[in-house]
Symmetry: C2
Subunit: 471 residues, 2 copies
C-alpha cells in the first residue's frame, strides 16, 4: 500500500495541494488554515515522535462538510487525518505523509439526550468533561475517563478506557452507534439506538479503536449511566506490589463491583505527594472508589477492608468528603505532571501494557527489576483491576545512551506483556508507536486480515496513513 | 457475488463433489457422512423455512481439521456451513446452495479454565449447560442464556443474549478472543487474554454475530463471572403492559442491577400456567431475578417492590427456595412449548424486535393491537430490560390466508421497531429470515460496507452463502 508520494508536508507549491486548498476554501472559507503554527499544533501529540505537520488544517462544522472534505481529498489521493483535542499518546495525529487535518473541535454539541433510554447523541469534538457538565441536570453521566479531557471522537477512535473501566467497561462497551465518513466520502450509520442487536456485522466495533484509519467519526450515540446515589473513595497501603496485586485479584474474583481500583508504586506516591501536596503513605498504594447505594457502598468497603487486611494491607483510609475525594482523583490524574517533578528537565514517556490479572504481580515485579537494571527512573501507575499499568520512564532527551536504555526497556516491557498472553496497549492505541509489536501480539494471519480490511475499505490509503497496519 | 452454480444439493453424481468427498474422507475417515437423514438434520433449524440439506456433513475434532476441510472446499469453491446444535431460528444453517456442513459437536471440550482471571477457553461445540456443569466447582459461571441449550460457537455467531443480558451483556461483551478458520482456510487468533486491548482492529467483534459468513469459530476465550452469593427471584403482576413497561424503565434508569427482568403478556401467562402447571396471575407479569450479596439482593428487591407499587403492580411474590426459582425459570424457558399448547397443530414462529426502552410500551401496545386486528394468536414474552421482545404467532401451516396474515404482521412488526430507532433482531440474528429488513434498518451505505467486508474476506462466497448480505 502506498500513499500519493507527490504530497510532501508544507510544499505550498505543489499543484495538487494548491487545487485542493482552493476547493476546500470554497467549501469552508476561512475555516481552512495553512499557517505553520496551526499545522505544527496539529502534527504532534504527547509523544517523543518528531512533529509531522499536515499541509492543510480544516475546521468542519457538520457531517456533510467532513464528507465533502474527504471526497475532495479522495479524488486527489491526499491523506486525511482526523483531529480531536490532540491528547493521544502514540503519534496518532502526526501527518507522516502530509495531507489534510480534519479538526472536529467545532463539532462539539450534544445533539440529543434520551434520559429514559440512558443514551445520548454527541458530535465528536465534545470533550468528556464538557459532556458531563451538560448532562449534570439529568442525573446521568458518561463514565469513561482516560485522564486527559479528551474528545469523544478521539476516545472512540483509540478505544479509550481509564480509571473506571473495571466497573463500566471501555469505549467498546459504551458506544451504541456511530456516524462515520468513509474513505470514499460516504456517510455510514453503524447502528440503531437499540441496546442490543444481532442484525449483521458489528460495524460500530469495526470503527471503535480504528484510530481514524477506516473513516472519520462524525456522530456518536453513547450509553449513559445513573450518577450513583453514594460514592466512597479511599486509599490503602500495602507492604509490596505482590500483596497489593493479590488483594486486587481477590477483590475482582469475589465480584466486588469496585468502580476504581488504581495502583501507585512507591516512586509514583513520592511524586504525587510532592506535586499535589499530599501525605500519602510511601509504599505501594491502592486508590479505590465504590459506587452504589449507601448500604451497598458501605458493604463493599467493609469487604474490601477485610481482603486488604488478609494481604497485610492497611490501614484503609476513607475520603468521605466530596472535596477530599476530588483532591485524591485530581492527584491521580496529575501523575504525569507529578512524575516530571521527580526529574526536572526530563520528558515523561508512556507505556500501556495489559495482562491477565493472574500475571499482573509477576509482570509488575519483573518490570520494576528491569527499570532498576536499566538505570531508569520510571514511576508506575495502573488500572490494576483490568491488569493494565503504565510505567513511565523519565528520560533526558539529550542523552542518547539513556534514550537507548529507555527504548530497550519499553521494548522488553511490550514483549513481556505479550508473552504473558497480554497486549502491548490496553487503552492508548497503536498509532505509530506500537506498530512494531503487532506481529508478535497478533501473529501474521491476524495482521494480514487487518491489512485486508484496511486495503478493502481504503484502497488508496488516504485515511490516517502510516498508523496501525498501513505502510 | 455468486456461488459455484454447479453445486446442487444432493447431486451425488457431481464430479466436483465426488472429488471433494474423497478428499474429505481421506482426512476424516468415517466422520464424513452423506446419508439423507443426516444431511436433512443439518439442513434445517427451528424455522418455517424449507429444509435445504448440505451435500456432505463432516465432524472435525480439531482446528487443523476444520482448516483442512475449508481449504479443500475453497479450492473447489464449494460452500461451507458451520453447524453447532441446530437451535438457531432464522435459517442460519440451511444450505441453499448445497455444500459441506461442518458440524463441530465433537469439538466440545473446555480447553482451559483460568479461575483467577475469570476466563476460560472452550471449543465451539460445547453447550452452555455443559459448560456451566463443568465450571461448577470453580465458583464461576458463564451467564449468557438464550434459552435453548445452544453451542457456544453458535452463540458467538448469532451474537446471542437472553434473559440475563440486562445484567451481564450479550456475547459481544463476554468473548475475549477467538480462533477462527477464514474462508481461505487460514487460522487466525483474534485477541489475547487481556481484559481490554487497544491494539488494532477489533477482529473479535468482527466475527461475533457474523453467523459463520466470514469464517468458522474453532476456539473461544470467554469471560466468566462469580456465582452470586445470593439470588432472589419473584413475580409481579401489573394492570397493563404500559404499567409494567414503566416500572421496567424506572428500574433500569435508577440503576437497580436486576439480573433478569422478563415480561409475559396475559396470553403467554395462560399458556405457561397450562403447560408448566403453575398458577401465575393472568395479567401482564414481570419475572425478576436479583444477584448479589444477601444485603444487596434484599435492598434491590425492596426497591423494586416500591417501584412496582408506584405503577399499580403487585403483590410482588418471592420464589425464595432454589427449587421454586428453578421451576419459574424452567417455565420461562418453556414458553415456546407452552405456546404451542394454546393451539394444537399450529407452528410457533419467532420474532425478535428490540427498541429503545422509552418506546417499548408504545411498540408493545401497537403490536398487541396488530395481533388482534390480524386475527392471530401470538403470545408475547420479552427481555424488557433491554427493550427486546418476542411475539410468537401460532400459525396453521395449511391455511394460506393465515400464513399471509402472519407474514404481514411479522413484516409490520420489524418495520415498526426500525421506525422506533430499534432493530429487527435483538438476538436471533439475520440468517435467511431477516435479510429483507437490513436495508431499512441500516441504510444502503452501511449495507454496502457489510457487502464489501464479506466480498473482501470471502471473494468466492463459500462461507455460509445466502445469509446476512450474501446473494
Amino acid at each position: 500500500m502506498t500513499v500519493a508520494t507527490s504530497i510532501r508536508t508544507g510544499r505550498a507549491d505543489d499543484p495538487t495541494l494548491a487545487a485542493l486548498q482552493a476547493e476546500l476554501t470554497g467549501l469552508l472559507g476561512d475555516r481552512v488554515v495553512t499557517s505553520l503554527a496551526v499545522r505544527e499544533q496539529h502534527g504532534h501529540t504527547t509523544t517523543w515522535l518528531a512533529n509531522q505537520p499536515p499541509d492543510i488544517v480544516t475546521f468542519p462544522e457538520t457531517t456533510a462538510e467532513v464528507a465533502a472534505i474527504v471526497a475532495a481529498c479522495a479524488r486527489r489521493k491526499v491523506p486525511v487525518i482526523p483531529f480531536g483535542t490532540g491528547t493521544s499518546l502514540e503519534g496518532h495525529l502526526n501527518a507522516p505523509h502530509g495531507g489534510v487535518s480534519v479538526d472536529v473541535s467545532r463539532m462539539n454539541r450534544v445533539v440529543a439526550v434520551h434520559a429514559e433510554d440512558l443514551d445520548c447523541v454527541v458530535q465528536p469534538g465534545i470533550t468528556r468533561k464538557t459532556l458531563n457538565e451538560q448532562l449534570r441536570d439529568t442525573g446521568l453521566f458518561f463514565p469513561i475517563d482516560p485522564g486527559a479531557d479528551a474528545s469523544l471522537g478521539g476516545m472512540v477512535s483509540t478505544r479509550a478506557s481509564g480509571t473506571n473501566a473495571v466497573r463500566y467497561g471501555t469505549m467498546k462497551d459504551n458506544v451504541l452507534a456511530l456516524t462515520v465518513v468513509t474513505p470514499r466520502g460516504e456517510i455510514v450509520r453503524t447502528g440503531s439506538r437499540a441496546k442490543k442487536s444481532a442484525a449483521g456485522y458489528d460495524l460500530t466495533r469495526l470503527f471503535v479503536g480504528a484510530e481514524g484509519t477506516l473513516g472519520i467519526v462524525t456522530e456518536i450515540t453513547l450509553r449513559l449511566h445513573g450518577i450513583p446515589e453514594a460514592i466512597a473513595a479511599g486509599i490503602c497501603p500495602f507492604p509490596s506490589l505482590k500483596a497489593a496485586c493479590e488483594a486486587v485479584i481477590l477483590t475482582i474474583q469475589t465480584g466486588l463491583p469496585v468502580a476504581r481500583i488504581e495502583l501507585l508504586d512507591e516512586i509514583q506516591v513520592k511524586a504525587v505527594n510532592a506535586y499535589s501536596k499530599l501525605s500519602l503513605p510511601v509504599s505501594p498504594l491502592l486508590l479505590l472508589e465504590f459506587h452504589g447505594t449507601e448500604a451497598g457502598v458501605s458493604e463493599q468497603s467493609r469487604r474490601f477492608g477485610e481482603i486488604a487486611a488478609d494481604h497485610g494491607g492497611g490501614p484503609f483510609e476513607w475520603a468521605t468528603k466530596p472535596e477530599d475525594r476530588s483532591r485524591l482523583w485530581q492527584a491521580r490524574h496529575d501523575v504525569y505532571w507529578a512524575s516530571l517533578g521527580l526529574r526536572p528537565g526530563a520528558r515523561g514517556l508512556a507505556s500501556d501494557v495489559c495482562v491477565p490479572i493472574s500475571r499482573l504481580a509477576e509482570c509488575l515485579e519483573e518490570t520494576k527489576r528491569d527499570i532498576e537494571e536499566s538505570g531508569l527512573v520510571a514511576p508506575i501507575v495502573g488500572h490494576v483491576g483490568d491488569g493494565n499499568f503504565h510505567a513511565g520512564p523519565l528520560v533526558m532527551m539529550d542523552d542518547p545512551d539513556e534514550i537507548a536504555r529507555c527504548e530497550g526497556f519499553l521494548h522488553r516491557l511490550a514483549e513481556r506483556a505479550i508473552a504473558m498472553e497480554g497486549t502491548c496497549t490496553g487503552e492508548h492505541g497503536v498509532g505509530q508507536g506500537k506498530m512494531k509489536y503487532l506481529k508478535a501480539e497478533h501473529g501474521e494471519a491476524a495482521l494480514d486480515l487487518m491489512r485486508l480490511l484496511k486495503r478493502s475499505m481504503d484502497p488508496d490509503n488516504i485515511m490516517n496513513p502510516g498508523k496501525i497496519v498501513a505502510a
